[in-house]
Subunit: 229 residues, 2 copies
């Protein structure tokens, strides 16, 4: 049975796009937001797209966290550490925190095509430091742009998933592969999340320069390396 997915920051374009895709795939999704009313409005919008029977609801972030043990962080980096500190008492051992956050320099008034240096190596590794022990952190979805997720049709992008917890990584790859077009790839340990975060800055730069909605595909791996199609 699939776990309930709480998308924290799910009223923003990236989280909304992921929530739509998972709702369309039949998953149970809770939109989390600082503001419960905005979360419910986003859930209503998702039902309009995914059908009235879609299992989508909206809650304040902490309430969403209490109802799910698979949490996806899609928040701007400036709110990253603060949210994690708020969530800490609500995070239960065995939960998975999927971090899609990218530490763009825009968080501190810089460019969207540059990243900040994170002491721990990446936003996802910062997350690993901020969650209670027994909670697994998985990095993924940084390179699938909101515009692509919110458009119709298959997503022409691979999702590389990094984690120090092999089972949690597998769970998240299965979840990624539910998005049509996405192939999920095991990208190794959580420390590699820094590369995924940097790739996002490159893709944003390409989008600005070439007026596109870029993504990446990994070529040349044997078929068994890809989950999904």
């Amino acid at each position: 049975m699939s776990r309930t997915i709480a998308v924290l920051g799910g009223t923003g374009p990236e989280g909304f796009g992921l929530a739509v895709r998972w709702a369309l795939a039949g998953e149970t999704v809770i939109i989390g937001s600082r503001d419960a009313k905005r979360a419910q409005e986003a859930a209503d919008k998702i039902r309009q797209r995914a059908g009235a029977n879609a299992n989508v609801s909206g809650r304040e972030n902490l309430a969403a966290c209490a109802l799910a043990d698979l949490l996806v962080l899609t928040i701007p980096f400036e709110g990253h550490a603060t949210l994690l500190k708020q969530l800490k008492p609500a995070l239960r051992p065995g939960s998975i925190v999927v971090d899609a956050t990218v530490p763009l320099a825009a968080s501190v008034g810089g460019r969207v095509s540059r990243t900040l240096g994170i002491w721990q190596g990446s936003a996802a590794q910062q997350t690993a430091e901020l969650v209670p022990s027994g909670v697994s952190v998985v990095a993924g979805f940084q390179n699938v742009g909101a515009d692509i997720l919110n458009a119709e049709g298959p997503v022409d992008c691979d999702v590389i998933v990094c984690s120090d917890d092999i089972e949690a990584g597998k769970t998240v790859r299965t979840l990624a592969a539910k998005i049509p077009g996405v192939r999920a790839i095991d990208g190794g340990k959580l420390e590699n999340a820094r590369i995924l975060e940097h790739i996002t800055a490159l893709l944003i730069g390409l989008n600005l320069r070439h007026k596109g909605h870029s993504g990446i595909r990994i070529t040349g791996l044997p078929p068994g390396a890809y989950a999904g199609q």
Copy 2:
């Protein structure tokens, strides 16, 4: 008319693979090496693959540099700064130095799937600091693996090219697009080279984990963003 290309470190697998591909495309290529004899042997091997009429010769690195104004660096990072300091008196204004070097931690006994932090931001930016003024530095080819270049058939990989010199970047994109299968993409300023270098570490990790020869493709850009096919 195409410029003569000197591939410094061209006896190593990455440089050799690029030299073969350009020789096959009809370019004039000089293999540079610390050892002129080894350079000539590599040139002989390339002629065996690309045909007896291929314009390929082998020289000691400095001699190669004297005969070409388009230099491609494909040397291990541990020899990077030293070679550039040796080359400096031989580099003429108007020359282009293409840097494909990746600062893998293996250079100092660490892992091939990790990079070193470079003070200037990337190996390519270190190069920019070490060349005389008037010489343009272009970053590219980091993400096209030697095994892929040395295999037969088209290369299933895009080449992202970064430079602060727009014309030099264009020249190198044209050169990249001469490799069958490669699409060359303007990746913006040289500072973005750090991301290309990091991607190589990710791809090496994927190769080790999944037993493949991985590369990347950028999806979702308008056709005009890609040179080549």
